[in-house]
């Protein structure tokens, strides 16, 4: 999937300001960003629900919008219960069977053996977690080329979360499916995704593998035995710092040996880079 310079507005308000993104075949790509940054709008453009004003969204080189052939290869799990309330689960399965030629009923039954939903239940009788699990199972059962999942794990209990993740990984391994998944649980994404994109105010600010994104930031611990030196705030790329006694923790972008040397010249007796979590990168990126 390739997204090239996509712009999208609601009325006069531009939500997406020239988004570029690509998802490799057979990979799991995470999309993170604060509430209201445009993740869901981007996903709706990707699934052909909205039409972008500018730019291109291509799957296998074909545009998605108003293209049933391409849309048949795209699964979409919305951020909340997306199905018709009055439908029973078996009716929903039948609906998907009619809608998608590639729908694999047996695969759905296999998935459901783990989750254990009753087919006679109506959608409105399901809990939030159950309806999200149902959406994931139905969309995985069409064996899509790419599945777009908008916070699919929210509301799921730990066991079902693990089951759904296993289903996704299985589909990626067996069928080479690509996944674009958004979530606010960054620890989870860190362990689950091959690559990641970070959105801020309708733009992608970081994109790449988790390690690539992490390499953009550095967290270092510095000991200034003689107190805080003058000019620390002028160090290039300094995002923020805090201290506990003489130990200073600094967050920097573009950390290099030159900065380490500068710090030592300022009187640092000890400089050490320590690993950062995705959550920390997310927080500092949005500062």
């Amino acid at each position: 999937m390739e997204i090239k310079n996509v712009r999208k507005s609601y009325g006069n308000k531009e939500i997406l300001h020239g988004v570029n993104l690509s998802v490799e075949e057979g990979s799991i790509h995470g999309l993170v960003g604060r509430n209201g940054c445009g993740k869901t709008t981007l996903m709706k453009c990707m699934t052909g629900i909205y039409k972008q004003e500018e730019g291109e969204i291509l799957i296998g080189g074909q545009p998605v919008y108003e293209n049933p052939e391409v849309k048949a290869q795209v699964g979409y799990v919305a951020d909340s219960n997306q199905y018709f309330d009055h439908y029973r689960i078996d009716e929903m399965v039948e609906f998907y069977r009619q809608m998608y030629q590639s729908f694999d009923q047996q695969a759905f039954f296999d998935y459901n053996q783990c989750v254990g939903l009753e087919f006679s239940k109506r959608i409105r009788e399901l809990s939030k977690g159950q309806s999200m699990a149902l959406a994931s199972m139905l969309n995985l059962s069409i064996h899509p080329k790419i599945i777009i999942m908008d916070e699919p794990l929210s509301g799921l209990d730990v066991i079902v979360q693990k089951q759904v993740k296993d289903f996704i990984i299985n589909e990626v391994e067996m069928k080479g499916m690509s996944v674009l998944i958004s979530s606010h649980d960054l620890k989870d994404l860190e362990s689950f995704c091959d690559s990641i994109s970070m959105m801020k105010k309708g733009k992608i600010i970081h994109e790449g593998t988790i390690d690539d994104v992490k390499s953009d930031f550095a967290k270092i611990q510095v000991v200034f035995s003689n107190g805080l030196p003058n000019g620390l705030s002028e160090i290039p790329g300094l995002v923020t710092y805090s201290n506990l006694g003489s130990i200073y923790t600094m967050i920097l972008t573009g950390y290099s040996n030159v900065i380490e040397k500068t710090l030592k010249e300022m009187g640092a007796s000890f400089v050490e880079e320590i690993p950062m979590t995705l959550e920390e990168i997310f927080i500092y990126s949005n500062q």
Binding site: K8, S9, Y10, G11, N12, K13, T41, K44, T47, G48, I49, Y50, K51, E66, P68, E69, K71, A72, V74, Y76, A78, S80, N81, Q82, F84, F95, M99, Y100
Partner: protein
């Protein structure tokens, strides 16, 4: 998709049967008691109106789900084009509308025949058939305009309000004026066909144009002209039916086209139209309505020697009385038209400016 909106399809045929049985059981009055005959013909016409109101409700329900409910947006991710989604969603309603029109048409025709038989009229089967066809055709036109309002305005409540204004005030006003124009040109009472038949105006003489003996037109009182008027009425009724049906399909087609172009996230009519069309289209539409409304009101004033007083504007609106533009002098028609357009242009300009200011304030 068809199954999702299945429940909406049940409404109309059920109402057609219910109201058909109701009118069939109405006692047929003695035609010397003219008020009772008005009463019964009005009741027969209400059937068409009920069908339209139910169509409006059903169309609003479906449109709400297809366009206004965020939760349902995901259906556009299914492997179908908007056109296919739209067609499949509305197909059941379209079929039920046609079926209910046919069902009610049969009841309407049968009851009409009973009335004619009791009144010992010499009207032919063809005349009554023509009357039924015109009513079916106008139902389709109403539904088509309703569909257009729903599709273009997108916000359901706006669609409901505009279609009600169109059906109860706009269309009768224009149709009536059009009828007068033909009447003046063609020298026969076309207004009875255009103006009275659909709305039961003047207390329900809607069937009268097809009962040439009952018609008050002097020409038709003379037996020598009887066959001539019968032919005229029947012929023009079929032509009107055909014209209205073509109009209805055209409007449905425009509504569909408009719908395919819509982006679900751009929910405001004015922001969807670009540049100068934002100003031109609303001004033109509002201007046409204003022109017809003003000319009708002026003619009432002129007819009743009351002058162009404001009260007649309100009266016209409330009573749906219209007397037509064709009797006005040409210069006055032109001036009224230009004035209507100019005023509406100004109003639209002010509304757009207010809207722009609000948007700027919000952003």
């Amino acid at each position: 998709m068809k199954k999702i909106f299945r429940k909406y399809g049940i409404l109309l045929p059920a109402a057609a049967i219910f109201w058909g049985i109701y009118i069939s059981n109405l006692p047929i009055p003695d035609f010397t008691e003219i008020n009772i005959s008005y009463f019964i013909t009005d009741k027969m016409l209400y059937g068409w109106r009920i069908l339209w109101i139910l169509y409006l409700i059903a169309a609003a329900g479906i449109t709400y789900h297809l366009q206004n409910q965020k939760k349902w947006e995901y259906i556009y991710s299914f492997p179908m084009t908007k056109k296919q989604i739209y067609r499949q969603s509305f197909l059941g309603l379209y079929i039920s509308m046609i079926v209910s029109a046919v069902i009610y048409g049969i009841f309407f025709y049968v009851q009409g025949m009973r009335i004619f038989t009791k009144a010992q009229q010499s009207s032919s089967v063809i005349e009554l058939l023509a009357s039924t066809f015109v009513n079916i055709a106008i139902l389709f036109v109403w539904c088509a305009f309703t569909q257009l309002c729903m599709m273009i305005l997108q916000y359901v409540w706006q669609g409901v309000v505009v279609s009600m204004i169109l059906v109860f005030f706009g269309i009768p006003c224009i149709v009536s004026n059009f009828g007068y124009l033909i009447e003046n040109v063609g020298h026969f009472k076309s207004r009875e066909i255009f103006g009275h038949i659909f709305y039961g105006m003047d207390k329900g003489i809607s069937l009268v144009p097809y009962l040439s003996n009952l018609c008050s037109n002097n020409y038709r009182q003379e037996s020598a002209f009887q066959h001539l008027w019968t032919t005229h009425f029947t012929g023009i009724a079929f032509i009107i039916s055909a014209f209205l049906l073509v109009l209805a399909f055209l409007v449905f087609f425009v509504a569909q086209k408009q719908f395919y172009r819509l982006d679900l996230s751009g929910n405001v009519l004015i922001s969807r139209m670009k540049g100068k069309w934002n100003q031109i289209i609303p001004s033109l539409l509002a201007g046409i309505f204003a022109f017809h409304w003003i000319t009708n009101a002026q003619m009432i004033g002129w007819n009743f020697q009351k002058g162009d007083r404001l009260i007649f504007f309100a009266m016209m609106f409330l009573r749906k009385r219209s007397v037509g533009v064709a009797m006005m002098p040409a210069w006055k028609i032109c001036m009224t038209f230009i004035l209507s357009m100019a005023v509406m242009w100004g109003i639209v300009w002010i509304l757009r400016m207010i809207r722009r200011k609000i948007n700027e304030g919000a952003s």
